[in-house]
């Protein structure tokens, strides 16, 4: 793909307008990251996308994913041993594995799992502002192949939006404030995982469906995703009160 076509240009513009709107009007980090992961799949011609943030112990943890399939979450998490996201985070530069078939020595466990799940290419773009690297955007493709500069630039722009979202609320420029932001964002992701499990158990759903119910209810009632998740887990919201699923 050499040029962005008109339809895609329009969607790109639309996406950034929506993201910018969210950023200026106050937002839920968990919600925004989820939208970003979805936008990556929509705009970057990849099959899956995930956003990882570094925690207070220096480990990369999943913040959002375009799919709630457990194996995708796991594929991102296992990169704490070795993987493109870890390299990207450590060096603060993009890591492009255009053919995972050739990377089994570099990242043995990651490559094996990625290929088992059906991915043949993986890219990682840093979430970076000056000297701070706070995470990475992970992109997966089912076919090996080169990724265009235009796509990479767009992907980096989406990663930058995620970075700004985290840094925006910093009251000061201190490292402690940044750590608190990251810890709080990651904890809101834990709440979502807990709520997914609760719904899956209560309604006999698979995890991706449980997440959809959660998000549908948040959107339908104009609430923050993480607030709905928290209300469910603390018992303030009965799962039976969730809006019916529109299929």
């Amino acid at each position: 793909m050499s040029e962005l076509n008109t339809t895609r240009e329009y969607r790109v513009a639309e996406t950034f307008v929506a993201l910018t709107d969210t950023l200026v009007t106050g937002f839920d980090v968990a919600d925004l990251f989820n939208d970003l992961a979805g936008a990556c799949v929509d705009l970057l011609d990849v099959h899956a996308a995930g956003l990882m943030l570094v925690d207070v112990h220096g480990r990369l943890r999943v913040m959002a994913s375009s799919s709630e399939r457990s194996r995708l979450l796991e594929l991102m998490e296992i990169q704490n041993d070795a993987g493109p996201c870890l390299d990207c985070y450590r060096d603060g530069t993009p890591v492009l594995a255009e053919d995972l078939g050739a990377e089994s020595e570099r990242w043995p466990a990651f490559t094996e799992e990625a290929m088992r799940v059906g991915f043949r290419a993986a890219y990682a773009l840093p979430m970076r502002l000056r000297s701070d690297t706070i995470g990475a955007l992970n992109l997966f493709h089912q076919q090996p192949g080169e990724v265009s500069d235009a796509t990479l630039r767009l992907g980096q722009a989406l990663a930058d939006v995620a970075t700004i979202a985290i840094l925006q609320e910093r009251a000061s420029r201190s490292g402690a404030e940044l750590s608190r932001q990251l810890q709080s964002a990651l904890n809101s992701r834990v709440v979502i995982e807990q709520a997914k499990g609760l719904l899956a158990g209560r309604m006999e759903l698979e995890m991706p469906d449980a997440f959809d119910r959660l998000r549908d209810h948040a959107r339908g009632t104009r609430q923050r995703l993480s607030d709905v998740a928290e209300a469910l887990v603390t018992g303030a919201l009965d799962p039976d009160e969730l809006l019916p699923h529109e299929s």
């Binding site: 925690d55 207070v56 490292g175 608190r180 807990q194 499990g197 609760l198 887990v233």
Partner: protein, 254 residues
Amino acid sequence: MADSDAELSRLQRVADACLHSLSVTGVSVSVTTSGGHRIVMHASDAIAVRLEELQSDLGEGPGLDALAHRQTVIVDDLADRHGTSWATWPAFTDAAVETPARTLFALPLLLGAAKLGVLQMYSERVTTWTDEQQVRALALSDAAIYAALDLLTDAIPADSLEPAMASGPIRTSAGSSAGSAEVIVPILRSEVHQAAGMLMSDLGVDIVEATVRLRGHAFAQGRPVIDVARDIIARTIRLPDDNASGPIGRGGLS
């Protein structure tokens, strides 16, 4: 809790790291049960205990607010009558100022939606944390969450602690620069939180107890927590619905 020595020492290690690296005189960790009781799980000295008790007795104080608002609360100087402490918690401050404590730090221990407890510290001298110390305090509060969870998990054999962390233990640098004991913090993967959520509805317990039961089951079976979590999600195993063994069940620990 017959076998709690091993877990106690883990909480002890976190507390020691606080004392070594955060310029504080004393430290305590308290956990709030589903019944609303506060249990002091660790206190380094009598003053730390006193500062916990005052808040439980009076129903106000920085630790309770840290948990309620999910954020760190710092009292710069208890003796400063113009400080926020007197205006915010008059009864607590009036009593606390009688102790040698001057600066108080309270960090919430959050496990997703759960307000698990508080890590509290005091200093006899007016103390301000550097940026680096603030980051270290956050890392140690995170370590305290897992140490407290272990303490709540009844009867963990000491030799099962390592396999339980097989999903990727790391050593936080939290205490290392001061030469104190390193604190190992397990990674709780996404599926562990999902499985705990599923157990809530299966067992009719809250999220803390569900997490504790999940870990307890894994420890008892000598299996990694992540493996048990996957079995629960795949619905290939169910944990026994046994309220009597719940370590923090309704009224179980108070």
